[in-house]
Amino acid sequence: MPLFPIHRIRALLLLAAAAAACLYAGKEFRKMNAPDTILPGQGVSRIRALKDYFPNLEGTRSDSAVYFLESGRPGPTVLVLGGTHPNEPAGFLAAVALVESLRVKAGRLIVVPQACQSGFTCTDPLEGYPQSYSLRSRSRLRTFRFGSRAANPVEDWPDPIIYRHFPSGQQLSGNETRNLNRAYPGKSDGTTTEKTAFAIMKLIRDEKVNLAFDLHEAAPEIPIINAIVTHEKGRELAAGALLGLELENLPYALELSPPNFHGLSHREWGDGTPAIPFLLETTNPVQGRLRGRTGASLAVDGQDRQYRLAQESGRMRITYDAGGEPLARRVGRHLRAIQAVLETYNELHPEGRVELEGIPSYEEIIRNGVGSLLQ
């Protein structure tokens, strides 16, 4: 028998090819550990981090910056969370836009653009997601990471087969273990995701947040899109906001948080803290199950032939504009909806108003693109 029979040479060659591919891909994966650049605007008065509320997060992938925009004048405290799901870029970018462009004239705003920081360090296998997308801002080309819906599996691998929510005991599929928006109220000695949820709950309590927004996107086939989901406490504010938004031709649906579905921000923030929670949804073809070719341009332009066809078939309700669902429209919607809720709040609480300045109108955002909101 020869020392190097052909099958052994073939196996060695294949191994070498696999090793080279892994080396190359490993480099690509590691690139996602580099943080996104967020440029605080004039309105930012100080920057803290989630670890300041729960020191256990220090030095972990889950610690994340918390931006304070304080007016110095009395008024309510408003929290805006972006990036709960890092594959929903409009929620993240709307929060970044607030940090980079907003000025607060009364009350104060706290913004966490990357609530699930860990999820920004990886993508979801089998989804074919891009690792990043780029936009032209007011001064330069900005590139942001496109992450995974859930936290990086490296943190708590492997997922259990069944995810059991703490403290309700509710059972969900094991991959929800790393989903921040199924983890509230969190657990100080739990998984990394439960710890992140715990830190955010603590932030809401410590900072005496009055109104809290969790910015999301959903696949176009999900019925709860262009929707405000709120706790019983927020019913009136959401209804008022919805009427205001409708007058501006931005139709929204109002959904109440089901009390028997646990772990979600609109349920647990409302039950466990004095804050009134609102979860906002826009439509995002890049995370949809019916989408066609997947890539950075789909994330930014939101143009997808398969969704157009699915909508034309009329078999199911699909929220998709035939011209596409660009980021500008989705970010614009988030920013307008936040303002509409705050306007209603101001109407109902004239004694303690929150006043914001520096966000262009929805029409301007559509006209000038989402980059116009960024430095």
Partner: protein, 421 residues
């Protein structure tokens, strides 16, 4: 830059050529097919996507590897033969009862873990020698345990495809026990009786026992079953007492069982046995790695969406037929549940969504038997020593047809089914 149908055609053509003309292993054929799809779609050779996709089923790969080690250990220690022997001696007088017992026994690990492969690799492997000794041909035994594995995955209390669908439509995993019971248990009994009347006549005990390895119960006593007892006890206690028992994951449970098996039966050398287990699992693990790449490229190039939208566009009369044909064609219960299961719940909005999701999980479950991966058929082929997994798939066809009919009937009559319980 080709459009989706062309990309799909190229991927399928390369896969077929690689398997049937170049005689490559299925796993490698899937890798080539994925790469060809990406090139055709104008994505170049997306190394990052290919490697990322290969991790898509990493957890399943680990479960399979450790399960094979466990089964080889249990076989070498003598527990496997002893169980088959005991089962036959205990129930040979009542062949129908024997077959029904075997059916639920095989389904049990799947019901507990939600994993179809666990059924074949554990209880399926335990009963396979006994069933073969009864005179059932190897391919038929393989088809029986492969099909029961699907039912085990779908049966309550744990059904991962339903959880995946539920995760997509914000539906908590509550109230599924009865519809899932209804979707699986009657079919399981029917399957057991079908095989019993097709293959098993009166059982002559001595003849059957002579074909099985001897029972080592007298020599080792109950200690022999300790590894399997440990595995079942750990799986059960994680489910029953989650507040006290941490979920250490199925692979670690299997490994603990395997380590226990070193000391509880006949003496054997662990490393060669473990290596043999991994060697036998390699082709299937290769397929899973290849399927991961294949699915990732299908998603990247838009072929996945093209298939899903194509299914949804079917006219109402053809929709159910389309579901029955296309969902299994995804070749994976999980993939079919996520890609088609979630939108289909919305298509049938207004009907009882718990029954709909249960029925869809049954139809999606069939995907685990189907090519390209033919996951369960390949496993079963290995367990029963059948070279050609396609023969196992062919033997499964009558029961697949019955399941699809049950699934479609449940969808059409969802509200009436809901009133049954």
């Amino acid at each position: 830059m080709a459009n989706e149908p062309v990309v799909l055609a190229v991927m399928l053509a390369v896969f077929t050529a690689a398997v049937f003309v170049w005689k490559l292993p299925s796993g490698l054929a899937l890798v080539l097919s994925a790469a060809a799809g990406a090139l055709t779609a104008g994505e170049g050779l997306p190394v990052r996507h290919l490697v990322e996709g290969s991790f898509g089923y990493l957890d399943a790969v680990l479960i399979i590897a450790t399960a094979m080690v466990l089964m080889k250990v249990v076989e070498a220690g003598g527990a496997l033969g002893t169980i088959s022997y005991g089962l036959m001696k205990w129930l040979y007088r009542w062949p129908s009862l024997l077959m029904i017992f075997v059916a639920f026994f095989v389904m049990f690990p799947g019901m507990l873990t939600g994993l179809s492969s666990a059924c074949i690799l554990t209880t399926g492997a335990l009963v396979a020698p006994a069933l073969q000794a009864l005179g059932i041909p190897a391919a038929s035994v393989g088809s029986l345990i492969a099909f029961l594995a699907v039912l085990g995955m779908v049966a309550p209390p744990i059904n991962i495809p339903v959880m995946i669908i539920g995760g997509g439509v914000d539906m908590p995993y509550v109230g599924f026990d009865k519809p899932l019971l209804l979707a699986t248990f009657p079919i399981a009994i029917l399957t057991a009786l079908y095989y019993r009347y097709r293959y098993v006549r009166t059982i002559v005990l001595e003849q059957v026992l002579s074909k099985l390895p001897p029972s080592l119960y007298v020599r080792h006593g109950m200690k022999l079953f300790l590894p399997l007892g440990l595995v079942v006890a750990l799986m059960l206690s994680i489910r029953l007492f989650p507040q006290w028992v941490p979920d250490i994951g199925i692979p670690l449970i299997f490994m603990l069982g395997a380590v226990a098996g070193i000391f509880t039966g006949e003496r054997f050398r662990f490393w060669p046995v473990a290596r043999q287990g991994i060697r036998e699992a390699l082709p299937v693990m290769g397929i899973l790695v290849g399927v991961g790449m294949f699915v990732q490229i299908m998603t990247l190039t838009g072929v996945r969406g093209f298939l899903a939208v194509g299914a949804l566009q079917l006219p109402p009369a053809l929709l159910c037929l389309g579901i029955a044909l296309l969902m299994p064609a995804f070749g994976s219960a999980y993939a079919a549940s996520s890609v088609l299961g979630v939108p289909l719940v919305y298509v049938f909005l207004g009907k009882n969504e718990i029954v709909i999701a249960s029925a869809l999980s049954l139809i999606a479950g069939i995907g685990d038997l189907m090519p390209p991966p033919m996951l369960l058929c390949s496993f079963a082929a290995q367990i029963v020593g059948e070279k050609n997994p396609w023969r196992i798939l062919k033997e499964c066809l009558p029961m697949i047809l019955v399941s699809l009919l049950v699934g479609i009937a449940m969808i059409l009559l969802a509200d009436k089914v809901a009133r049954l319980y």
